[in-house]
Amino acid sequence: MTHLLLFLSCALFLAPLLFLALGALESPAEQASPNLLPERPVWGNFVRAFTDADFSERLPTSLLLAGVYAALTTASSACAGYGLARFRAPGSRLVLVLLALTMMIPGVITLLPTYLLFAKLGLVGTYWPWVLWGLGGNSYIVLLFRQFFVSIPREQEESALLDGCGHLRVFWRVVLPQSRPALAASAVLTFAWAWGDWTAPLLLLDADTTTLAVALTTAYAHEPGHTADNLLAAGSLLYTLPVLALFLVAQRYLTAGAYAVRTG
């Protein structure tokens, strides 16, 4: 019963991807035609998609930016989440409110001033903005961590403190190891965001320093706005592979969760 449900769901979830894959194998003339199966699959589309979007240059850039952003955001957000979950200070309530409010702000509003900010700092065209964004953390992830830390019992931390460990050490040695599901979720989410985001690179980077996400949206155009959909489909499939790989690695930690550590 469970099997059947999962199997059908998976089939349904895979169908659009299958359609995307079939689209990736179409010849140009078939793109706007109603046939489902390409008459003769054009495997070369994947090669063209790879070269046209300059994967060999753009892929390392995307990996670097998404990796740096994911690592830094996860770290600084976990810190902030821990601070919010465990300590009270004047202003802690305000920080919590601001966190929630920050999530309600549509990103579009910040584009122009953000550019002006980085232009003033001389960081347009560099990768430093991703470092700074990462260090600043992300409100969603901070709240995610806070919720996880709140639900973890405090006994171990308290006994470690009694043993003479400092708070930073407790955080590092006792709390984080129990938080693998949250860490894994955060890593995958933040990596996928930076990986998929194209407004920021479009705003701040040049064609020869930009990310794969931007290259995908512009590289397959015959004419601007008139994209070769078969190549875009092929490129998109290639583009999803690194995030999928990360998920496959992370999913072990998602489920082999805190209780395993606690009872182990």
């Binding site: 140009p28 900010l117 705003l203 512009t218 155009a221 008139h226």
Partner: protein
């Protein structure tokens, strides 16, 4: 309490910048961008200036050249930050008055006069879309150059689709009347169930506003008032044109605001042999190279006639302009000489992707194949009818397109008359134009 505050003198773009600077800690950080070697920044699409072209530009100019994708937010932010790109892509026919009214574009006349690589005499008449004297486009100083262009009201026919419907192909030497055109479209359209198998005609591919603007000129009128500050779709010419387009939508012969083209432009459907007639100017030319069967069947036709003079405008005139705030206009002009007068210009002409903007390159259009000779002959005969239409400086073309699409969709859904549709267009667009005039008038 008054909602509208008073005018604040000196409240300028620079003031915004100043605010930004103050918030980040004063002008102390201002010099940071000078650390790196200055590069010439070109804002255009990769398809028009790819990696190989960029490298070639660096060799030809002896400068570092970078490309960034066109993006309105990025452009606005760069201009606001006081560091605009050196060269920016735009559509001369639609953007020149807007740029001039905002004092953004550099007057290129002195550079052109002093240039040995480019001369004003060698520019095709299409170059005039980049001229604007404040009330008339095509006159006054020149603010940009055209890369390549097309007389966009011309359309392509698929002879095989015509044959399958047993409809004779129109005569390429004689423009069709608009009623006859719509009639043909009806006969060529094939529908089954909810799906359209063959579209008879598409007129929506380049945007409905320019389509209406061009057709109104062909009817002998103009959608804009003489000072370009208002639209008047209630004038008899414009209303007649609106009536035709509402009939086109009702006939469901092709894509329209009520039935948008998922591909964005007609070529994919034309290539899939699902479209009998596609309004697209010369643009299909180079794309036909890869598809011999399609090339044999594709026939370029002159722009159809409406009730007035024979005119055949250009709806975009893609090219580039140089911002007035560009720190090194000489370098930007050197890029212009190379891109518009050098090797890239010749390569574009030879590829047949659009018509060259230089007279000296006209003969370079590809004519090796039968379909190419056929298209060039029709195009040659059409050239004398090229007309530069004036666009308003008080609105972005995209905003007018937004309104026209919304209003036409509603008019179609509710069965509004052409007169009522005209009223709705006038109300919405004149509000936008009044706002623009308030800002830069």
């Amino acid at each position: 309490m008054g909602l509208y505050g008073g005018y604040v003198p000196g409240f300028s773009r620079r003031a915004f910048l100043g605010l930004g600077a103050a918030a980040v800690g004063g002008g102390a950080l201002g010099g940071c961008s000078g650390r790196r070697e200055r590069a010439l920044t070109v804002m255009t699409w990769e398809g028009e200036f790819d990696e190989a072209a960029r490298a070639a530009a660096e060799r030809a100019l002896g400068l570092r050249v970078t490309r960034i994708d066109p993006d309105l937010t990025r452009l606005t932010a760069m201009i606001t930050a006081g560091s605009p790109p050196d060269v920016v892509r735009a559509a001369g026919a639609l953007d020149t008055p807007f740029l001039v009214a905002r004092k953004l574009a550099l007057d290129l006349d002195p550079y052109l006069a002093a240039s040995s690589a480019l001369s004003a005499d060698d520019l095709e008449p299409i170059g005039d879309v980049w001229r604007f004297d404040g009330v008339k486009q095509g006159a006054g100083p020149r603010y940009g150059l055209t890369k390549d262009y097309s007389q966009d009201a011309m359309f392509w026919c698929d002879a095989e689709v015509f044959a399958a419907a047993d409809v004779p192909l129109p005569d390429a030497a004689k423009p069709l009347g608009h009623e006859e055109w719509l009639d043909l479209a009806r006969r060529l359209t094939v529908r089954r169930g909810g799906r359209t198998r063959i579209h008879g005609l598409d007129v929506s591919g380049q945007g409905m506003f320019v389509q209406l603007m061009g057709a109104t000129a062909a009817e002998g009128g103009s959608v804009f008032s003489a000072d370009l500050a208002r639209v008047d779709f209630s004038a008899p010419e414009a209303t007649a044109v609106l009536g035709w387009h509402l009939a086109y939508m009702d006939a469901r012969v092709g894509f329209s605001p009520a039935d948008p083209n998922p591909d964005g432009w007609p070529f994919p459907a034309f290539q899939a042999r699902r479209m009998a007639m596609a309004t697209a100017g010369y643009w299909f030319g180079a794309l036909l190279d890869d598809d011999p069967a399609l090339a044999r069947a594709a026939h370029l036709m002159p722009a159809p006639l409406f009730g007035g003079p024979r005119v055949s405008p250009c709806y975009s005139g893609i090219g580039m302009w140089i911002p007035r705030a560009c720190p090194d206009p000489d370098a930007a002009w050197a890029f212009f000489e190379w891109y518009f007068g050098g090797e890239p210009a010749r390569e574009r002409a030879v590829s047949g992707f659009g018509l060259p903007a230089l007279k000296s390159l006209r003969s370079s259009l590809p004519q090796g194949e039968e379909f190419q000779r056929r298209a060039v002959a029709v195009q040659e005969a059409e050239l004398p009818y090229l007309t530069v239409l004036s666009f308003t400086p008080y609105a972005r073309s995209a905003e007018l397109e937004d309104i026209v699409t919304r209003v036409l969709r509603k008019a179609h859904a509710e069965g509004l008359s052409a007169g009522k549709t005209a009223d709705a267009l006038n109300t919405d667009m004149n509000a936008v134009l009044a706002r623009g005039r308030d800002l830069v008038g």
